[in-house]
Every structure is written in structure tokens, then in C-alpha cells.
């Protein structure tokens, strides 16, 4: 009987995914958002504040640069010995009454979680915010399977009832203004319009308190897992993660396999950097460290705890010594806040749950370079992300390496490749170079007609001038000036 129910369930989940189609056009999405002044203002308002807060708060540390080195070394060491630490984690979690499930893919993780929900006969799920659940669209799949699942982080709750998508790793609704949220609440709850953030938050609080009271299953992600003890560490400001690990009788933590640290003491390094880098706080309001099930005599906390450790493409990154350090990421969002490109185009333009510089790395690696070949180019390589990263992932270097891979694997468009071929050929002989630069200069200056900017180029240059102006070439080339010296 149970297996019949599960087959039916699986079918509904498959159906849900059947009409999902990747249709990602970075050019279209980024051009559209960069023209949206309201969106850019909202993003600037949020991320510049976080970025400034980060710089200020890092000054409290004795030597933040060296501490970031240490944090990077701890994570790198863990990744280099991940098999050992995963095994240690599994043993310790089970020792303390939890059950450990490894999932190779997102689909497998979802199947494991749906099985747990059904076997435990749970109906009301409270879910706290986690990037890994966004990565596999867990909430949608649970809804499709007929489970009542509520996102309990305020931002994620708003995203859920608006059928929207988060646009930032830490602050998911920076693309929304309070007026649109007020309208949404007014329609959803059938209450009068009120755009005061305090009132909106209170309204969500009242609604969600009832949800918490009835919940029989809690879902969390995890910022860190301590291998030596089997503890999960979750940080938050609102208190909904604490609700997940306190009220319901079943708790599931879905976490990526790369989230481990070897020792409890490592948390002092990580926590000192995480909140400062993410939101410019010294500490988040709640840092919860929990393991397994409630102990004998305890009157709250889960009776049943499941840790689902998901691979979903991470082992492929792990296998590349070059890209392995990308997995150090602790999802603080500092690189998004620091990135001049992110600030102009917003999170949705990146077409995946991981936006910004780190997303431009992770998305092509998780989802395939072919579909997301434009993302490694969505960077001016200014290095602000590398400077902001608390675990020192050299993002600009890896973006260049991905560009190299795009060329090596012949993923770029055939026209682009021919153009570069011709370019290379031209530059290999002085006379061809001279001829071409003379021709180029003459034609472009003619087209500019005395103006110092070229507004439009003929194809294929038109793609370039669609979003920027081109300076008109100087009357004399550098070579001409050099020879005249």
C-alpha cells in the first residue's frame, strides 16, 4: 500500500517537473533589469548598506585578512579530506539518535524527504530558508505532492505566496518594495492595505504563529556541520529555524556535503566571519547548534531527526583540483553585495538560485556550461568579490578559467569563433594589422561623423553597442604617434 502511494507520489512529482524547461537568455534578462531604475535603486539601497557594514565590522577583528586565510584553510582542508569527515559526521549523528541519508542528486534528495514525510505521517511542514532547498525546488515539489508546506522566513514566505523567486542569497526579496508586499498581503489575507513594514511583519508573525503551533515536521538547511560531534549549526535573525528544531516531532536537515568543518572550535572562526560578511552584524541573533533527537526527559525538540547530505554535482567540482576551492563557499552573499554587475542587473538575471559572482561560478558548474555560458562573462573581473570573500575563493581567476573552458570545449557560437580566428590571423602579420587598424579607424570615424561616441555599430558589433556607447577611435593610432616621436 505504502509503495503504491509512493509511486503515485513520484508520478505527481515527475509531472511537476515535466513542463519545466530551461529557457535562459542572459542577454535578454540582464538588459531588461539594467533598464529598471526602480529595481536598481532597491538593490543599491540593500546591498551597499550590507557591503559598508561588512567593511566596518571586519575592522573589529585583530587581522581580518589573516582570519579569512584561516577560514579558507579550514574549509579547504575539510574538502581535501571530505570522505573522512563525512564518515565521521555520519557516525556521530547516528550515535546521537539521528538518521543519515546520502543523496546523489536533487531528485534522490526529494524522494528521500518525501518518503520520510509519509512514513512519519506528517502533514504540516514548516520550512526555514536554505539555499540547498531552493537549488532543488523542494517546497514546490512538496506542494505538488500534496503536503502543506509553509516557508517561515519572512522574505521566503512573501516569495512563496507571491509565486516569485528569491533574488539574493541572504536577503531574498530586495527586488520588492513595501508597496507591492502590502498589496500582496491585502489580497492574500483579505485585509486592508497597509504598507508599514512593522505592520506587515506583525501580520505575517500572527499568521505564522498558528502555523508553528500545528506543525508536525520541521525542515532546515545548515550553515555548518561539526564532524567531530555531529552537530548542525544554523544561524538566523528571525527565530523560525529555532521553531523548526523545537516544536515539530520530526526534523529534517537538508545540507550540501561541502558544509562540514572538522571541530566545534572551528565555529568560532566561521561565526566571527559569517555574520560580519553577510549583513554587517557581529553575530546573527540566533546561532543554534543541535544534534539528533531530544534526550530522555526533554519535553521539546524532535523525536526523529534525519540529516540528508546531498551531492547534486558537488563531487564533480571536488574532482577538479582547480575548481575545488569553489566549494568553500559559506553562502554569505558578500560577493553579491560587492559586485558592480550584480548591482546593475539584480539576482533574477542570473537565471538560477545562486546569483552574483559566486553564482556565475556555481551555476555553470552545477547545471552545465552550455546552457549558462554567458554567466562567466557577466563580470568586469574587478576583483571586488575576491576581496570580500570570507573564505578567499579566487572568483575572478575561476571566471577566467571557465571562459577558457568555454573556448576549449567549443561551446561559444560558431560566428564568435570565426571572428576570433580572423582577428588572430590579422594580428599575426604587421602589414595586416596596420591595414586593418587603418580601415577600422577610418570606417568608424566616418560613421561617428565628428561625434566622440558611436551610438550604434552594424552587426555583429550591434550586440555590443546595444547596451553601451563606443568611444570613437582617435585620429592617429598609437603606432602612428610612436613613429612620429
Amino acid at each position: 500500500m505504502l509503495s503504491f502511494v509512493q509511486t503515485a507520489l513520484q508520478k505527481r512529482v515527475d509531472d511537476f517537473h515535466a513542463h519545466e524547461r530551461i529557457d535562459f537568455d542572459f542577454h535578454r534578462s540582464s538588459v531588461a533589469s539594467s533598464g529598471n531604475e526602480r529595481l536598481k535603486r532597491a538593490i543599491d539601497n540593500a546591498v551597499l548598506r550590507s557591503d559598508r557594514g561588512r567593511s566596518l565590522k571586519l575592522l573589529e577583528l585583530p587581522d581580518s585578512d589573516k582570519l579569512r586565510d584561516l577560514a579558507g584553510e579550514i574549509k579547504q582542508h575539510t574538502l581535501d579530506h571530505l570522505d573522512y569527515y563525512l564518515e565521521q559526521t555520519a557516525i556521530n549523528v547516528e550515535k546521537r539518535g539521528g538518521q543519515v541519508h546520502f543523496a546523489s542528486t536533487g531528485a534522490e534528495a526529494k524522494k528521500i524527504i518525501l518518503d520520510i514525510v509519509h512514513k512519519a505521517n506528517c502533514h504540516n511542514v514548516i520550512k526555514s530558508k536554505s539555499m540547498v532547498s531552493e537549488e532543488i525546488e523542494l517546497a514546490h515539489v512538496m506542494e505538488a505532492a500534496g503536503i502543506n508546506v509553509i516557508e517561515t522566513d519572512l522574505g521566503e514566505f512573501i516569495v512563496q505566496i507571491d509565486h516569485d523567486k528569491p533574488s539574493h542569497i541572504v536577503t531574498p526579496i530586495i527586488h520588492k518594495d513595501k508597496e507591492s508586499i502590502a498589496e500582496l498581503f491585502s489580497n492574500y489575507f483579505g485585509t486592508p492595505y497597509n504598507c508599514d513594514p512593522d505592520a506587515l511583519t506583525k501580520q505575517a508573525r500572527e499568521y505564522l504563529r498558528d502555523v508553528f503551533r500545528k506543525a508536525d515536521l520541521g525542515m532546515t538547511g545548515g550553515n555548518f556541520i561539526v564532524a567531530e560531534t555531529g552537530d548542525i549549526c544554523c544561524v538566523e535573525n528571525e527565530g523560525n529555524v529555532r521553531q523548526s528544531m523545537t516544536t515539530p516531532r520530526v526534523l529534517i536537515s537538508l545540507i550540501g556535503i561541502e558544509k562540514l568543518v572538522p571541530r566545534m572550535a572551528d565555529l568560532s572562526v566561521m561565526l566571527k566571519l559569517l555574520a560580519r560578511s553577510a549583513t554587517g552584524q557581529s553575530m546573527t541573533v540566533y546561532s543554534s547548534i543541535f544534534s539528533g533527537v531530544r534526550k530522555a526527559g526533554e519535553r521539546d525538540g524532535p523525536d526523529e531527526f534525519h540529516l540528508v547530505l546531498m551531492d547534486n554535482g558537488r563531487t564533480e567540482i571536488l574532482a577538479s583540483e582547480e575548481y575545488r576551492e569553489t566549494l568553500r563557499c559559506i553562502r554569505c552573499g558578500a560577493c553579491l553585495n560587492a559586485c558592480p554587475i550584480y548591482r546593475k542587473i539584480g539576482g533574477h538575471s542570473y537565471g538560477s538560485v545562486y546569483p552574483g559572482p559566486i553564482g556565475a561560478l556555481l551555476t555553470p558548474m552545477f547545471q552545465g556550461l552550455g546552457e549558462y555560458k554567458d554567466l562567466p562573462n557577466a563580470s568586469s573581473l574587478c576583483g571586488a568579490c575576491y576581496e570580500a570573500c570570507p573564505v578567499k575563493i579566487n572568483i575572478p581567476k575561476h571566471l577566467i578559467s571557465l571562459r577558457r573552458d568555454i573556448v576549449d570545449q567549443k561551446i561559444s557560437s560558431p560566428i564568435e569563433r570565426i571572428i576570433y580566428r580572423i582577428w588572430a590571423w590579422t594580428y599575426m602579420a604587421t602589414w595586416r594589422y596596420k591595414l586593418i587598424s587603418f580601415g577600422q579607424k577610418t570606417v568608424l570615424r566616418l560613421q561617428a561623423g565628428g561625434s566622440s561616441w558611436l551610438k550604434r555599430l552594424p552587426p555583429p558589433g550591434s550586440g555590443w553597442t546595444q547596451v553601451r556607447d563606443m568611444p570613437t577611435p582617435a585620429a592617429k593610432t598609437f603606432r602612428e604617434m610612436w613613429n612620429a616621436k
Binding site: 543523496a103 526579496i173 504563529r209 521539546d300 551531492d311
Partner: protein, 218 residues
């Protein structure tokens, strides 16, 4: 352990190994001067007070003899009628629970409550496991006597902190946590529950208490 697709094997192969490591790897050493922000154990309660105030945690420093009267007056000023407390020898010893009952508050002890009851309580008055001076944080630890929901569900959380609860730095907290065995959970509380999700407007009081107040004993 449940590993149908052999993820562990895949991880091992990705790292270029065919067999498990025979010796435990040695993680990078944690250089204390780099991590530690609080160097001295002198004046920790004062530092805790300063940092807690920065985090919007109210602090009243007082002598233990004044606690009962101050606590009662404070709860009256917040219009509190019902109070939840952990089963705590410390709170009994300093007479906090008796004083609350004598002042007419309806006091429920955690060992005779359910999680659901906690939603109808106006405030909780608890002891703490530790207080971190570096960050001005309270640390509460789950036990049969002290439920996880005590410092979470009521809209007002009052904590009574003794000087001996104070540890200097997060390093010291995690050292103590490692040494003191396996509590099923502990939470570091650094302020009232809050969010800035809507246009970065700070709103205090989301899912946890909107007010946290400390009575800091001398």
C-alpha cells in the same frame, strides 16, 4: 547510514583515493591571537553589559537582594500576567519564583507545561547556561529542566545572569561546549528576534521574543 548511490565512494574517488584514510587528518591549527577578541577575563560582566546593550538587549545590573522587587516591578511595567520558568534550582534559591507567585503572577514551571501552553504565556524568566562577553550573547542549553521553547515562544524573555556564567570569547564558549558533553541543543541569543527583509527596514519581533531583558547579578 543510508547511502544507496554510494555518494561516499564518489567523494573518495573525486579526491583520487581508492581506500579510506588510515590516519585521521590534522586540521589547520587555530591561531588564538588571530581569532580571540577578548584577551582578559577581568571585567567580563561589564563587557557583557556593554555588548548586550549594543544588541538591543536591556540590562539591569543589581545585587541579588534587590532582584525580587526589581523583577516584579519590571514585569508589571510590561503588563505581564502569566510567566513561564524552567525548573531551576538557581531560580528557586534566589527566591525568584516565590517572589513572582507572591506578587500575583500566574507562574508555570516547564516540567508541568507543553509546548502548546507556551504560546499563551506573556513572558519567560530563565537562567542561562553561559553569557558571552565578546558578543553580548546569552547561551541557553536544552535539558529536561530547560525547554528549547522557553526563550523562543513568549514575546518577552527575561534572563538572570550571574558573573560566573560569563565567558570571554566565542572560542571559550565552544571549548566549554566541546568539553561539557552532548547537550541535544544550545542556542546563542544575541538580541531580540528581528528582520530587515522589507526594504532593509529593521523590524524587531518576528518569530522569537521582541524583547530580551537581562538582570545581571553582581
Amino acid at each position: 547510514m543510508n547511502d544507496p548511490s554510494n555518494v561516499l565512494g564518489k567523494v573518495r574517488r573525486s579526491l583520487g583515493r581508492t581506500a579510506p584514510l588510515t590516519r585521521a587528518p590534522v586540521p589547520p591549527s587555530l591561531s588564538e591571537p588571530l581569532i580571540r577578541l577578548v584577551l582578559s577575563d577581568i571585567g567580563l560582566p561589564q563587557l557583557f553589559e556593554k555588548k548586550a546593550l549594543e544588541n538591543k538587549i536591556g540590562v539591569t545590573p543589581l545585587r541579588v537582594d534587590d532582584l525580587a522587587a526589581e523583577l516584579v516591578a519590571f514585569l508589571h511595567s510590561k503588563h505581564v500576567k502569566t510567566v513561564a520558568v524552567p525548573k531551576s534550582a538557581f531560580l528557586d534559591r534566589i527566591g525568584a519564583v516565590d517572589a513572582l507567585r507572591a506578587a500575583g503572577f500566574v507562574v508555570s514551571t516547564w516540567d508541568e507545561m507543553t509546548v502548546d501552553d507556551m504560546y499563551d504565556v506573556d513572558a519567560s524568566v530563565t537562567d542561562v547556561w553561559k553569557a558571552v562577553a565578546e558578543t553580548g550573547s546569552l547561551v541557553v542549553r536544552a535539558s529536561p529542566e530547560h525547554g528549547r521553547c522557553l526563550s523562543l515562544i513568549p514575546p518577552l524573555h527575561v534572563a538572570i545572569v550571574e558573573p560566573k556564567n560569563c565567558v570571554a570569547d566565542l572560542i571559550d564558549l565552544f571549548e566549554t561546549a566541546t568539553a561539557s558533553g552532548d547537550a541535544s541543543a544550545f542556542t546563542i541569543i544575541t538580541g531580540p528576534s528581528k528582520t530587515s527583509d522589507i526594504e532593509m527596514n529593521l523590524v524587531i519581533g518576528v518569530h522569537g521574543p521582541e524583547k530580551v531583558h537581562v538582570f545581571l547579578l553582581a
